[in-house]
Symmetry: C2
Subunit: 328 residues, 2 copies
DNA sequence: GTGAAAGCGCTAACAT
DNA sequence: ATGTTAGCGCTTTCAC
């Protein structure tokens, strides 16, 4: 920076002002141009650490997540990263491996880097408990929530998603709609099922216990559950699978019986796991979990929290859009 | 830090030494303990920026990749991150969106953060040309290579992978083996095909042009190609699909004809795209692209390059292991 | 509009 | 074994 000042024939102060677009003092355009030219010629590149030190502000957010398993995580990261960049904030990504010890160490590292806040993202919607040190800095939850509501959070609207899927099937003329659900203990299963019931009732259809199976959340589980459903004396003409992997298995069960999708049996999924939903034949209509958007909203919420514009316990609910393909 | 020194009743120098495990000077264990205790009590946390400034060393590597599309990217990130952590280096992840402008800006940002080196990872194996500024700092390529060989790189051994898949099919007794390949212009297609030919010839089987189809790299493409293959007068008894998505489509074509996998037709894939390979029914035997390992090796290579232990143009080739499931 | 000067938190000679 | 001291590159206040 000294070199730039020298070359432009001005003070370091002036350089600093120009480079940071400060208008506290007025600089002539000519001076500005000279400084900028000098910086360009010298290939000057500000040193982020020095700036962070001087300003006592890192311009970083930390994003902690179980990066391992999840194609989902990458979408949250992307959404958060893009949004953060708009504010010229950068994302430090730390993975927890779903291991409390690793997690603690990861957060510790973020704090050493003096992140201004933390976004804690889960790969499936659930309650989490953060290690105490996460409180040292503003923290928001994405796709998860604090059991005691101590952190702001952004979560998907499972309930509305369940409604949406069911409504779509109803709109296609189905009246006997099966539900292959997830582990009944998790928020996704509860919410989606609730929406399903609600919509059925509103349509004057009494939910039929036989049509609901809490499946094992894999293709195999979906296959087994769909087989059971299809072998019913009065089988459903449509199946709402609470995730795409199970829908994948359901496809096999349906095809095995010589039935056609969607002609004989309509299928609707949940998650929009693109590799599956898009490439299944026929392509799967499904309700999307908007991870990217959740990541972006997480950053928004974090920024608001840091700015003190958000109540400590605000929960943002985000809509799960329906992706129409051809399985309904 | 001053506070810690004060509390421990020693100099800041001593604190710095203890905290950094320096043995240049010998400190009594008692002093060490006192310092450590004071640091713990005060909840002292070193400031990474300050340290980076003072040491002129950031302890960071930059990882640039097209984070968007790829479930693959996440594995490279994981491998690189874990490996970097072993050296107490951290990863700054920047996404390019496959857009040169974004890419340039991303690298610029990394350089401002004074990363010590850059790992440039592609989501599919190909030649790339890096922006000039990437040369300002040691850079290695992962899953891609510089057309002019100016950067060290780690790439998968497509050729060996092609051999491995073909050998597996041969071992299962197949003699008529179809190949549904990728776009013939890309390294993956060239290498895998080469391996396939080689192994066939070694087994005394003349490659049959009819059995080779350059497919469109989607489930649809795989379906079409497999259909063509199966409708041949003398159809293959096994199909080597150059990626798992096409294998997914091939499954449909096979099942549609009332044939069973692997009994009537064996299928082997490539990529080990877990969502597909694992959940397909029957689960797909496939050759894995070891992204995680490539990420780790990328970090190794970068470390070596920085240390001056690597020739500028070294290319590390990494093996693609066979994952046995049940489709062969 | 400019320049001097202090300071951000830490490291590392060097002298003691 | 400990203290002193001079930076690292930048920001920011203040007097000019």
């Amino acid at each position: 920076m000294k070199d730039v000042a020298l070359r432009a024939g001005v003070s370091r102060t002036a350089v600093s002002f120009v480079l940071n677009d400060r208008h506290a003092v007025t600089l002539s355009d000519e001076t500005r141009d000279r400084v900028l030219a000098a910086a360009a010629e010298l290939g000057y590149r500000p040193n982020a650490s020095a700036r962070a030190l001087a300003q006592q502000r890192s311009d970083w957010y930390g994003l902690v997540t179980e990066i391992v398993t999840a194609p989902f995580a990458v979408n949250v990261i992307k959404g958060a990263q893009d949004r953060a960049l708009l504010d010229e904030k950068y994302l430090l990504i730390a993975s927890t491996e779903s291991d409390p010890v690793v997690e603690q160490a990861a957060i510790e590292r973020l704090l050493e880097q003096r992140v201004e806040g933390i976004i804690y993202a889960a790969t499936w919607h659930r309650a989490v408990t953060l290690p105490e040190i996460a409180r040292e800095v503003p923290t928001v939850l994405v796709n998860c929530f604090d059991a005691e509501g101590r952190f702001p959070a952004v979560v998907p609207d499972e309930h509305a998603g369940g409604r949406r899927a069911t409504e779509r099937l109803l709109a296609a003329g189905h009246r006997r709609i099966g539900l292959i659900n997830l582990d009944p203990a998790i928020p996704a299963a509860v919410g989606r099922r609730l929406g399903y019931h609600e919509v059925l009732r509103e349509a004057g259809i009494a939910p039929d216990e036989d049509l609901e199976i809490p499946g094992h959340a894999t293709a195999h589980g979906g296959y087994d559950a769909a087989s059971a459903l299809l072998d019913l004396a009065d089988p459903p003409t449509a199946i709402f699978c609470a995730n795409d992997r199970m829908a994948m298995g359901a496809y096999d069960a349906i095809k095995e019986r010589g039935l056609r999708i969607p002609h004989d049996v309509a299928v609707i999924g949940f998650d929009n796991q693109e590799l599956i939903a898009e490439y299944l034949r026929p392509a799967l209509t499904t309700v999307a979990l908007p991870f990217e958007q959740m990541g972006a909203l997480g950053v928004d919420l974090l920024a608001a929290t840091i700015a003190g514009e958000s109540t400590a316990t605000e929960t943002v609910t985000v809509d799960c859009p329906l992706l129409e393909r051809v399985s309904v």
